[in-house]
């Protein structure tokens, strides 16, 4: 299965990765090759196999519901580009 330039551009947009048109052409090839490899694996009949959610064959461990983390706002905000009134400031996202 071969991807189009438009599809690659859209995937890059969804991941918020800026790529130029030259790079896009290269990614078209690389990603299409990966999909071709996947297609090869798809030829194997896996209808009887349960999909694997995780490479480790273990169940999720659970923690008790207790508050163990305390306020470290000052520490975290010391590396933030901009803060005010305890809030992290970011470029406006809606008009």
């Amino acid at each position: 299965m071969a991807l189009s330039v438009e599809e690659v551009t859209r995937i890059a947009y969804l991941a918020r990765i800026g790529i130029g048109s030259e790079e896009a052409a290269r990614y078209v090839k690389d990603l299409s090759d990966i999909l071709a490899f996947v297609a090869q694996m798809n030829a194997v009949d896996t209808s009887e196999v349960e999909p694997m959610a995780h490479p480790l064959d273990l169940p999720q461990r659970l923690r008790e519901d207790a508050v163990t983390e305390h306020n470290k706002r000052e520490l975290f905000q010391s590396i933030a580009p901009q803060v005010e009134a305890g809030l992290y400031l970011v470029p406006k996202v809606i008009e």
């Binding site: 859209r10 947009y13 959610a53 923690r63 983390e69 975290f76 005010e84 809030l87 992290y88 809606i94």
Partner: protein, 478 residues
């Protein structure tokens, strides 16, 4: 043409855990911005989520309460999108394998019962909050809410009217509060509702194109928002137009829905299993242990109240609205051993009336259930008339004193002494000769006037049945 609406609701229930779903930060509401956002909630590199057992237990509890299938194995997935109040660039949610599948909730509308299907319920983390005002053109981000556990409950498109949607929303709200898995506070966003709605010609089997209305977060607005949207869709279709599948926002001030600014590109969340979390595996013992904790559910309590106490459906519904109110009522019935219907009337009219007037919860009632039970007994044994009972109730409400103490102090005792009542009647009749003449001339309505005068003269304390009987006899004999 006759149209039919098809509605499905997605409700986000904030689970009542102490700590977040994947971190040990507090979930308490109202803290100073970002003081409850730890490294995990901030999506710092090198951190790993660890699942909260209590959130899992609550999800299972819900699933059991709606007769759903509890997945022995469920998987967390990443829902990828970029927004500044979502620090990791993805929300941890469940996609293909949610923890709860299938199930139903019973609703009642206009005396008719319907089972509304529940498609699924899955665990996920909440995002933070964006504040768009007052930051000189920038947006302020508070991540205290990021990582708060949510149970997203998705209904089947089984609802057929805004009224049914409201009934479903209320029934679900009642259930999660009964279960103790949510505080049910709509103002604080603990219970949030999105509605999917489409219309189709009545009798048609295929669904029409639907729109999604975001954030219908009050019982008052869900009906109005849906009614507006249904009318809008019908108008478009009847004019030969087509519905655009889109997300719309309800504006309560204008009472209308409007299209949210269309995104440059349709969302594509690219879900995939979260490699940071292993599959959640539950054994039967865990599920059974949760089942043991289930309280009597609203539906079962409602049916029991109808049967055991002989209550009308409406009364049973009101009295089982919350488990605290139901417990209060049952305590009054048990302690007083009085007619359950009499107790129901007092709880529903006097008590709930007084609570509503002062905007109090049942748990904040100044009159306790045992106190109200004593009052019921004094009415049942004839010490107080219903009317006096109401006055005593008011005093109990204001002072917190017991009924017997108030009867003693305020002289509230009903006058049942025949001689005393007769004396008052004689006085009343003596001072109203004209009315007596009119009454005898056929103006029988004046009987009520005489009763009123007697009650007035005794400050309402005379036993009304006795007054009626004695008056009748006197008016006849004189």
């Amino acid at each position: 043409m006759e149209w039919e609406a098809v509605i499905g609701l997605e409700i986000h229930v904030q689970l009542l855990t102490k700590s977040k779903i994947f971190s040990g930060a507090s979930t308490a509401y109202g803290a100073l911005p970002n003081t409850q956002a730890c490294a995990i909630d901030l999506g710092m590199p090198g951190t790993l989520p660890v699942l909260n057992r209590e959130a899992v237990r609550m999800a299972v509890k819900f699933g059991l309460a709606v007769n759903a299938e509890i997945a022995k194995r469920s998987v967390f997935a990443r829902k990828n999108y970029f927004y500044p109040d979502l620090p990791k660039g993805y929300q941890i949610s469940q996609y293909e394998l949610p923890i709860v599948r299938g199930g139903y909730l019973t609703i009642r509308v206009d005396g008719r019962e319907r089972r509304i299907g529940i498609t699924r319920a899955h665990l996920e983390e909440d995002a933070g909050k964006s504040l768009h005002e007052d930051f000189h053109g920038l947006t302020g981000i508070d991540l205290n809410r990021a990582g708060t556990p949510l149970l997203e409950i998705v209904s089947e498109p089984d609802l057929r009217s805004p009224k049914e949607a409201l009934a479903y929303m209320k029934a679900l709200h009642q259930l999660v509060v009964y279960l103790g898995i949510c505080d049910g506070n709509l103002q604080e966003g603990s219970f949030r509702c999105d509605a999917n709605v489409s219309v189709r010609p009545k009798g048609e089997i295929k669904f029409g194109t639907r729109t999604e209305i975001k954030n219908v977060n009050s019982f008052r607005f869900v009906e109005r928002a849906l009614s507006y949207e249904i009318a809008r869709q019908i108008e478009i279709l009847e004019a030969g137009g087509q519905i655009v599948q889109e997300t719309r926002l309800y504006d309560a001030d204008l009472d209308q829905t409007r299209s949210m600014r269309s995104k440059e590109e349709a969302m594509d969340y690219r879900y995939f299993p979260d490699p940071d979390l292993l599959p959640l595996v539950l054994d039967q013992a865990f599920i059974e242990a949760v089942r043991q904790e289930l309280p009597e559910l609203p539906e079962a309590k409602y049916r029991r109240f109808c049967e055991q106490y002989g209550l009308k459906p409406y009364d049973a519904e009101v009295l089982t609205a919350s488990s605290a109110l139901a417990d209060y009522y049952e305590r009054v019935v048990q302690d007083s051993a009085c007619d359950p219907k009499l107790c129901a009337n007092w709880v529903m009219v006097e008590l709930i009336g007084a609570l509503n007037k002062e905007n109090r919860e049942i748990t904040q009632s100044p009159v306790s259930a045992p106190q109200l039970a004593k009052l019921m007994q004094r009415i049942a044994d004839g010490t107080l008339s219903g009317k006096l009972g109401k006055q005593v109730f008011e005093l109990m409400w204001q002072t917190g004193k017991d009924v017997d103490a108030l009867i003693e102090e305020e002289g509230f005792k009903q006058i049942t002494d025949q001689g005393a009542i007769e004396q008052v009647i004689d006085q009343v009749l003596a001072s109203h000769p004209k009315e007596i003449a009119d009454y005898r001339a056929g103006k029988e309505k004046l009987f009520g006037f005489f009763v009123g005068q007697v009650m007035k003269a005794t400050a309402g304390k005379a036993n009304p049945q006795q007054v009626n009987a004695l008056l009748k006899a006197k008016l006849k004999s004189q």
